[in-house]
């Protein structure tokens, strides 16, 4: 009895220590973010006086200024680029995985290997030639200059994830559909896609995290402010705001909110997509 009590009290101390440690990490993660939000609600004078002090009056209109002085336009561009890129990433990848898993294709191993190999190729290596190609195609500084490379660079990962899921779908389902006179496209839209909704949503959210935050291509392939996406918009915002630091900080906060909110709502899909991709990536 006594030893058991000893064990539990030892356990309790260990538990408290672990929680203290993990909570200090929470503090470490939140500290820069809270400091950002605190200072985004101050005047510039207050920020310069002491960045750790509370504001006298909370300056919520910093957010209104940030939004109206450019962020709104960058947001709109990000939504357009992400929506189009995401739709085509999912469409092409699921078609690809469907074709590969449901038909006997000549050279299907080679085709799969080629597309899968795309995962090992990084954006930096393609940067200079892509810039030249996009100029030649007169796509430089258009939405398509981002959308096309985004689609191409995300297909390997997405197709790989979908392929391993499609393989696990039992063939009997389709055999019944063939007897009912479905053609292959109907089987795809009426059987495969509905069954695959969970994995498709995982793919969507992980790809959105990439597309929404992508910087390298956006920085090189776009020139006009009017079509910039948020990550580079923020950099040009910095130039426009010059000494208006608190509005700049509000802008950083606004730019970061959408994906964090989405993560809180869709954790399950997020975690599944990230881990499935990483295990085999």
């Amino acid at each position: 009895m006594e030893t058991k009590q000893k064990v539990t009290s030892k356990n309790l101390i260990l538990k408290i220590l672990i929680h203290l440690f993990l909570l200090s990490l929470v503090g470490f993660i939140f500290l820069p973010m809270l400091w950002l939000i605190l200072n985004s609600l101050k005047t510039n004078n207050e920020l310069f006086a002491n960045s750790l002090a509370l504001p006298e009056v909370w300056q919520f209109h910093n957010y209104v200024i940030a939004w109206s002085k450019g962020l709104f336009a960058y947001f709109k561009n990000s939504v357009i680029v992400s929506a189009i890129a995401l739709s085509f990433i999912l469409l092409f990848s699921s078609f690809f995985a469907y074709g590969l898993t449901r038909f006997k294709l000549k050279g299907s191993n080679l085709i799969f290997f080629v597309v899968l190999g795309g995962m090992a190729l990084s954006e930096q290596v393609a940067l200079v030639p892509l810039y030249k190609i996009l100029q030649t195609l007169h796509l430089y500084n258009t939405y398509l200059a981002l959308i096309l490379p985004y689609i191409a660079f995300r297909i390997p990962f997405t197709a790989f994830l979908l392929r391993s899921y499609f393989i696990s779908i039992p063939k009997e389902l389709e055999e019944a559909a063939v007897i009912d006179g479905y053609n292959s496209l109907q089987i795809f839209t009426k059987i495969i896609v509905p069954i695959s909704k969970p994995v498709l949503s995982s793919c969507a959210i992980v790809n959105l995290n990439f597309v929404w935050n992508e910087f390298l291509f956006a920085n090189v392939f776009l020139e006009s402010k009017s079509i910039m996406t948020i990550p580079i918009g923020l950099m040009s915002f910095k130039g426009d705001m010059k000494a208006d630091y608190t509005v700049m900080l509000a802008g950083i906060a606004v730019a970061s909110i959408p994906l964090i909110a989405l993560f809180i709502c869709m954790q399950k899909q997020f975690v599944r997509g990230l881990t499935a991709g990483a295990v085999k990536g």
């Binding site: 993660i29 092409f92 078609f95 080629v114 290596v125 689609i151 197709a159 090189v220």
Partner: protein, 291 residues
């Protein structure tokens, strides 16, 4: 009949064509470009053999870049993979209870913020006059430890690396948590019956069984360290001087500031060789069943 045989290819074709035209063709073209002197505004190019590579390897910035990329790699392996796995083991121990998902999700949040937003935020955090760190040090009476951080050529790269650890350690923790969760409870029960404590269970049972994920996390981290660009670009652009220069920023600056696209392509070839070699090692090790 002929139409039927073609249909399956129509499903595969759009994806294949996209990857070939916007991933493979540019990567192959990059190899080609690395042997030429070329500028962004004209179509003229002049064959220069290995000159771009010679200029790259003999450039005074080259050892600095390689050193910085290696620092990035080693510190990220220690902190993100090492410490991140340690945190994951702690989260999955029986002692964290209901809060474990809360912790895991909080640690992951920075990975959702765009690199440039994090870079801008940390230029403020590190700012000498109004930054979080110096203001904090002053408020607790440690003025003598205040620094110019990103403005100090010895410290700049480490400040940027520290920022990356803040952003991505939780990502590796998340990946490792899922791997640890997939370890069969039978093994854990058996260890418990044998009287193994939490540390022995972690070292002898969990780590060996989660080895594959650990390898994948290390590979992602190594590749990421040699591809790093936005983190440096949005904070110091490689400065002060060349002190925080990395391969990614060097490539960018040669291509789009110094109009030396051949040199940029040669840097791209080097990044390609490093990242693809690491990927091949991963495939080899995974396939041979050593992991």
């Amino acid at each position: 009949m002929k139409k039927k045989k073609l249909t399956p290819y129509l499903y595969v074709l759009p994806g294949l064509l996209m990857v070939l035209s916007f991933v493979y063709i540019p990567v192959v073209a990059n190899f080609f470009y690395s042997f030429f002197r070329l500028s962004s505004y004209s179509v003229d190019k002049k064959f220069v053999g290995f000159d771009n590579f010679v200029r790259l390897f003999t450039n005074e910035a080259f050892p600095i870049m390689i050193r910085n990329n290696l620092y990035y790699c080693i510190i990220s392996l220690i902190v993100q993979v090492g410490f991140g796995t340690f945190v994951a083991l702690m989260l999955e121990s029986k002692l964290t209870g209901r809060l474990r998902n809360f912790y895991r999700n909080v640690y992951f949040i920075p990975a959702l913020i765009s690199l440039s937003a994090v870079g801008l935020l940390f230029t403020f955090v590190y700012s000498p006059d109004l930054g979080l760190i110096n203001n904090f040090l002053e408020s607790i009476g440690l003025e003598q430890y205040t620094q110019v951080w990103l403005g100090d050529s010895k410290l700049a790269i480490f400040c940027i690396i520290a920022m990356s650890q803040w952003q991505f350690t939780g990502y590796i923790t998340l990946l490792m948590v899922v791997a640890i969760q997939s370890v069969s409870t039978d093994y854990l029960e058996a260890a418990k019956i044998d009287g193994a404590g939490p540390i022995r269970t972690a070292v002898n049972i969990i780590i060996p069984l989660a080895k594959e994920q650990l390898l994948v996390c290390s590979i992602i981290t190594i590749i990421g360290a040699f591809k790093v660009f936005t983190e440096v670009y949005s904070t110091t652009s490689g400065g002060p001087g060349k002190s925080s220069q990395v391969l990614g920023t060097y490539l960018y600056q040669n291509a789009f500031l110094h109009d030396d696209m051949g040199m940029a392509a040669a840097t791209g070839v080097l990044i390609f060789i490093i990242t693809v070699t690491v990927s091949i090692i991963q495939i080899k090790v995974t396939k041979s069943g050593e992991v």
